[in-house]
Symmetry: D3
Subunit: 297 residues, 6 copies
């Protein structure tokens, strides 16, 4: 899987490049050492084996040099695919999908049983020690139903960070499927962005990464906006400049900033080394949203 | 879920009984404090909500009084049911079921995504802090294919106990789905009895509980044998007195004893408080197999 | 002493009851885990071997499930008995007994040498690790003479909790005889209720139990009052409804509440499992006095 | 009690002497830092307030500079005095005193309630943190009756050093009264020399001090023998050169050496600074008995 | 070097004196246990082997009994001597010496390479574990040039106490040469009094000792002033009563007091046991300056 | 000094390269994590600012990713240069240089005061926390004179690793000047290769790096030998194939291997990233000598 067993597989020139790069990376790494960062991996990143490999390797690197990544993942296309195979007809009310108990069972199996272990296993192939859990484990998340009509779709009612802190302190990388139980024991699916933002706030994380398949916030000309502060972001929303699928992401970012997270990064996981580059470069490759706009904290 | 929020719901006489019982249990509990015990929950126990509740409460109690339970679970009927719904035809070679990659995906989803979280959630309802993982997490288990013909069915190639020890030390109860990866990254299903025995040996556990829906080893007259030593057990096997579904359980028990586990208990999880009773009573309610036959260690 | 060496001595039905009771007790125990509780054992409880056994077993149980009991004891009838045998004539001034240095020597021997070790030994028979000390040890208590006339009778001048905290953290149960030294090195006897209240305050204990041979505060009809708040208690005192031997106990309770203890329980140690029942039941079996009257904290 | 509150009470010359002495003592102290030493204080030392003050101050000094003293004390004349006042007639069988249960109660009160606290209090006046306990506390000692005829006189059946190690690690000085319980719960008096030797062996102590009112082993001319090895000591016993009250002390010393203690010192506590001088000087002021005779370890 | 290898070299009377003195010192030592104290050793103390021995032994004693000394040293006459031998002409501007880069190299070699190791080695001969470092090590001190004209002479720009705290916690005695780097990497010499005061403030030290070859602050009649408070000291400066070489010392003392140090002692290291005596006696042998004048803290 | 304050100074392509390289380096780094490695920096590496920068950055990188480097340095040309300026005539006996006490003073000043701080300061500029010490500090090394004739030239008599272990555990990088004291307090210069080998053995280091200005062991044709085992190395010495300045290095390597070090690397510090490349590549850039010849441990 890795070159560790065959260190001779790279050329001398490549090694020289590695050595050089390690030296160049030194000051950047030192800046972010001991940083807790919540990384939300969205669907697109999970639908491509290559993208997942990119991300897993970046996370293993960041962990090795002393950062504390906490991963939250969404569902990708798998949930729909399995539902369809099982003949579960999607039902809607007022345009919103209804999650009945049969569908929820499928959702939990796919998220916590299939995707979750695929991500953890992939990070572990790069030598990390990822541990895949869901909101049920260690009573991490308590869910509250959004509405009776929508069935088992919930929001975060409360967070208990004990298990995450234990795992991070012991050198593991938590990988979290966004499924939790309500007070009456029903399983609920929660939006992964919301889970990531809530965890980032509860953990006092320095950074929240929202990784999907879009490059970031675009301006009127369609050009990538590298950096925004909270106020500027709110203006753009009011002006209608941020819309569509980006809108919920940006709202989630603002919520996390309000809750004390210092910086939120929106970036495209399909680019190789997206997470590393976003951390190591001044402009980054996506959009950085900060509370006060004074540069990357 | 519990009476904690409504302590007045029991009568005075019931409380008196609880107080009395706590006092009576004191010497037993002190005997087993700090004991690491691996508890394998078999299919039947998982197919009944009532049985699972019994077991989850017992585990929460044992954890509270200072023991260190580690749970391994099998699959119950759910795997077959889902496979059928998905139209996966079971295939066999020489009488053994073949697990192709599509089936394995279903197995992992059911074991690690559905059953695993159901067990963890149930223990957590009784106030424990269970954490559901599989062999993938923390690189706990490495699998080796049994044979190319059988597809993705494996055996335990190696165990890395770090994550389990971290979780136990931090006050959590690990709940383990018997799925792992081979060296080439393929997911494999492993027999849960074997996983439990391997973990018990690797953790230096004092006890291994094999919980299913049979009462224990029966003698020629069909009466339950309360206690056996390793040698006596081997004689019974040779004489053909132990056969059928009990045979693999007993072989697994002998393997665990050979590997240093001090005592293996075979018991029926459908009885309320099966685990507590097996620990608290001299005769127990199932069959105890020890290395030397000198009573419950 | 215990059944630990003979686990077969209880019947199957009794074991089933124990198992059931442990499950029932689970939510109660989880509520009070890690609670520091000061338990003052009054004379009557000490004059009966049976009552002492009841109490010792309850304390061992509470310690086992994670609470932190700290015991303070009074003197019972033994001091008077020994004084009489030694021909020490009790002397009084203004109705108060005078403790001369010869009597004080007897008091210390009985409290710190006889009763203290009897209590510690009794708890240890139930598998606890009780450590009998007095206010002298670890410079735990400093005494101040109440008046020159009364001789070596003192009050608590200061508390140094280091030794108690060390013992609790190391898994021991401190048992404290209410004897201390003044600044000039004279031994003094201090009222055990006062010592208990001072220690509860200094330790930041959640609960103070005053165990004697009365059931609690009685109302005008002689019926037990299950619960009072501080204000209500003060009213009852002003109205004269609380009088006699109960008055100093209640004053001690109010003092402890004022000093930050959350709840004081007055109960009768002659009832089996008095302490456990008072903790496990909503109404309790004695009188609970809280600061604000909003139920058992 | 001490000069700490009035540092001006010594003259400049005296201070200069202290400073000089501290410097001179430096190499000696460094040699014995972190040494666990069991110090048995015999009757004579306890019958004199002055001697007890000498010893208590030496122990506080040794503790301050990093040694770990553990004190065991005998009974002095107090037991007999109190028995007599209570009209308890001493009874003998074959020349040995019989300890009936009434006498044992007196013994425990005097040892654990009076003398034990007097010693602890005295050490604490010099700023140490002594904690007075008996063999009952923390189940430190288990006793076995010497014979049915002699009543409640016992020997050490087993030692559990947990409590002592906890106290030493937490910075306290354990002071131990030689009273323990048998398996059936009866209090027994044990010879203090034996308790000290058993503890020294169980703790892996480097040194055992037997402090009484004799200067040490005397030779045929009545001159003090400064040093002996185990073999030489045995020869002197066989030759009858060691006899009388010194014989049991020396036998106790040999037993401790056999059990792994490196050096036993027999010395006279009536000399000021007896313990310090025995540690700080080459010849010492008493008799040093070592296993191999190669000088003070 | 020490008498440790030959404990017989002192007479019995001398040992008796040591024992006596240790007892007398007990209350003083207990008062200052766990005190962090910064000790600045000035030139004169370093120019005399005897004085250095006095000081090193005192520091080893203080460390042994639980205090935490941190040593800062100046330069003595050695810098000038070596510069002269190397033919470096001293240059001045406005009466201030100019430190060019060649001179700075000599300064660093003498301070950090020669004197620093001489002091550390001397303390280690008395059994301490001194560790000689400079402001460069562990990035302890960052320097700022006083002025471009004076060359490589600096002041303390910032302090990072991590290394000092690590060394003290691990049982070592830091010995610090007053050399540091500026932000642009140039070595600078900093006044040792200033380094000591800055460190005392940053470490939250209880005491700062300024040890040189003068006895302390003298009054108009030339008599030693034993104690001053900050206000009184400021008055004396304004009145011109403190002048000459004492002025910078006293200013440094006031700066340390303002920064939170509780007491500053100015004393003469040529007296044997100067540091011990200043700590152990009420009047001390030098001048004690406190914030509020209420006696030695 | 570093780019940390100006992360925008590298181009996007360069950052991409860094990210790529970090990923490529991952398996190599994981292999050597937690490895203690002693790195001896020889004269040539110290005489070039550029080479020292290369080495310091490599050491900072290795420390950041979890290795534990311990640096020992030699003297370079500076000692001779300063001696000459001071007019110290080099004297020889039988071809060996005589180090009189005046010369030794120069040696210590240059090694411990100048070079030592230059190396520590350089590592610290790259964000490490280097601490420059000599054998005197923490009594790390005790020296023994090689012969009376040669004056103050010594060999390692004993090693006390406490200080080094403390510094490494606390996250510092020890930098050691090869100067120590004899039992009679005389300073001695010790060969730096010998100090490095002795430390590597005493610390149980996995690797010893001997960094100078030669590429490694050359064969008869002058080609670099990439790898040797101990036996093969001995044969080459016997055959005279290893000679000149390489001979003492190789002898030192063999000594370290005999003392338990697993691998010794001889490499040229003038190559950029020499240390990183030697660790990260299969062939390395210098000569690797192992005990058994089975590849890089």
């Amino acid at each position: 899987m890795t070159d560790a067993d065959n260190p001779g597989s790279l050329s001398g020139a490549e090694h020289r490049q590695i050595a050089q790069a390690l030296g160049d990376a030194l000051p950047y790494i030192q800046r972010f050492r001991h940083l807790t960062m919540v990384v939300k991996l969205g669907g697109a990143a999970l639908d491509s084996d290559e993208a997942l490999n990119f991300l897993a390797r970046d996370l293993a690197v960041l962990h090795l040099v002393g950062m504390r990544p906490v991963v939250v993942h969404g569902g990708g296309k798998s949930v729909g695919a399995l539902s369809q195979r099982l003949g579960l007809e999607p039902r809607f009310r007022d345009g919103l999908r209804i999650t009945d108990s049969e569908t929820m069972e499928v959702v939990e199996m796919v998220l916590a049983g299939s995707l979750n272990k695929r991500i953890a296993g992939c990070i572990n192939q790069f030598g990390g020690s990822a541990v895949g859990i869901s909101g049920v484990d260690g009573s991490l998340l308590r869910a509250r139903r959004l509405s009776e009509e929508l069935g088992q779709v919930g929001e975060v009612a409360s967070v208990r960070t004990g298990l995450i802190e234990d795992l991070c302190r012991d050198g593991h990388i938590p990988v979290i499927a966004p499924v939790a139980r309500t007070d009456d024991g029903a399983a609920c699916n929660i939006n992964a962005d919301e889970v990531a933002a809530s965890l980032a706030a509860a953990l006092g994380a320095g950074k929240l990464f929202l990784v999907s398949n879009v490059d970031g916030v675009l301006d009127a000309e369609g050009a990538l906006v590298s950096q925004l502060d909270a106020e500027g972001t709110r203006t753009l929303i009011e002006e209608g400049a941020i819309a569509g699928g980006m809108l919920p992401k940006v709202r989630c970012a603002l919520k996390a900033l309000d809750a004390g997270v210092e910086a939120v990064h929106i970036l495209n996981g399909l680019h190789e080394h997206a997470v590393l580059l976003e951390l190591l470069t001044h402009r980054g490759i996506g959009t950085l949203i900060t509370r006060s706009g004074r540069g990357q904290p």
